[in-house]
């Protein structure tokens, strides 16, 4: 139900050992799922990309570690090369919870967001099944095209990425794939 990534980029020890121990415990209990990420190096834009009633959104990318042109120091990025992996992400943070604030507060916010999304995903699954059962009543071969063209509801699966910044320390970002902005409504 919940997806949390608990790692550091630089391999330095957490400065919130107790919190991390709690996460490991939840991981063993199956309450948290450890998801693989594309890279252990990330880039986050400082400028806010979009704002909602509760959240602020920044662009977020994983760096392509296989690229020989990806520098550790982002100030040395060479524009002529692509340094990022293919998928684009957005990082969401609360307008009311300070990112650099208490770790537990930030995780609680992320937990709430993912819980909302997980409940909606479960409902969407049932909704899609209900649609299938309704459309099955019209399962004649000539209607298959129509059935295939009916949309299904799907919710993005967010995950929390722990980032160890040399200046800011341990940060937790809630990320999810970036949707096409032109089609967003």
């Amino acid at each position: 139900m919940k997806f949390v990534k608990c790692r550091t980029l630089s391999g330095s020890p957490y400065d919130h050992q107790q919190d991390c121990a709690g996460l490991r415990s939840q991981l063993k209990q199956g309450k948290i799922v450890d998801k693989p990420v594309e890279s252990m190096r990330v880039a986050i834009r400082k400028t806010i990309f979009g704002e909602g009633a509760e959240r602020m959104v920044r662009k977020f990318r994983f760096l392509d570690e296989s690229s020989p042109h990806s520098p550790w120091d982002l100030s040395k990025i060479q524009p002529e090369f692509s340094h990022f992996s293919t998928l684009k992400f957005v990082a969401k943070e609360s307008r009311f919870v300070d990112v650099s604030g208490a770790y537990a507060d930030r995780m609680e916010y992320h937990r709430e967001f993912m819980r909302t999304q997980a409940i909606a995903s479960q409902m969407a699954l049932k909704f899609n099944n209900a649609l299938d059962s309704v459309f099955a009543e019209f399962g004649e071969p000539e209607n298959k095209t129509f059935l295939a063209n009916q949309p299904r509801i799907h919710f993005l699966s967010p995950m929390v990425v722990e980032v160890q910044d040399t200046n800011l320390g341990a940060l937790a970002f809630l990320i999810e794939p970036m949707l096409d902005v032109a089609k967003y409504e």
Binding site: E112, T116, M123, K126, N128, R152, H154
Partner: protein, 143 residues
């Protein structure tokens, strides 16, 4: 039936007049004015029922997806509202998923099994949270 004193006679008069009226209606029917006979109502009801079923079936066939029209009149933008309504009914009026924001990809997804409406940044209203003095943030659900 109970009658007021002296009413019996008037009732009889009324019955006689009705009898005459019935005769008149039969005469009218013969004139082609369409009087209704007892017994013909049942037949008409049966006809109505049969006709009603036929109408429903016809309407159903008209609304069924057609290879030419390929539509129930449903558009992709109708689905979010339908989903919100579904969540409200499915949760027995306890939860309601609203404020769906996202994109219609317009491409087939084998994972989902159809064209996909991808949503995020939703809000779930919970009937258990009804304290209006609290300013609950969006997306808050009961823990």
């Amino acid at each position: 039936m109970g009658y007021v004193k002296g009413q019996k006679e008037s009732i009889n008069e009324l019955a006689d007049s009705l009898a005459n009226l019935a005769l008149d209606t039969v005469a009218d029917q013969n004139d082609g004015l369409g009087a209704i006979e007892e017994g013909s109502e049942e037949e008409e009801e049966e006809e109505e029922e049969e006709g009603g079923d036929t109408d429903i079936l016809n309407a159903f066939e008209r609304s069924a997806p057609d290879a030419n029209t390929k539509s129930f009149g449903l558009e992709p933008q109708d689905y979010p509202n339908a989903f919100s309504h579904y969540t409200y009914q499915m949760s027995k009026k306890a939860l309601m998923v609203v404020d769906l924001q996202g994109v219609f990809t317009g491409s087939y997804s084998f994972f989902v099994g159809g064209l996909v409406l991808v949503y995020t940044y939703i809000c779930i209203h919970d009937s258990a949270i009804c304290d209006m003095t609290q300013s609950y943030v969006t997306g808050r659900v009961r823990v």
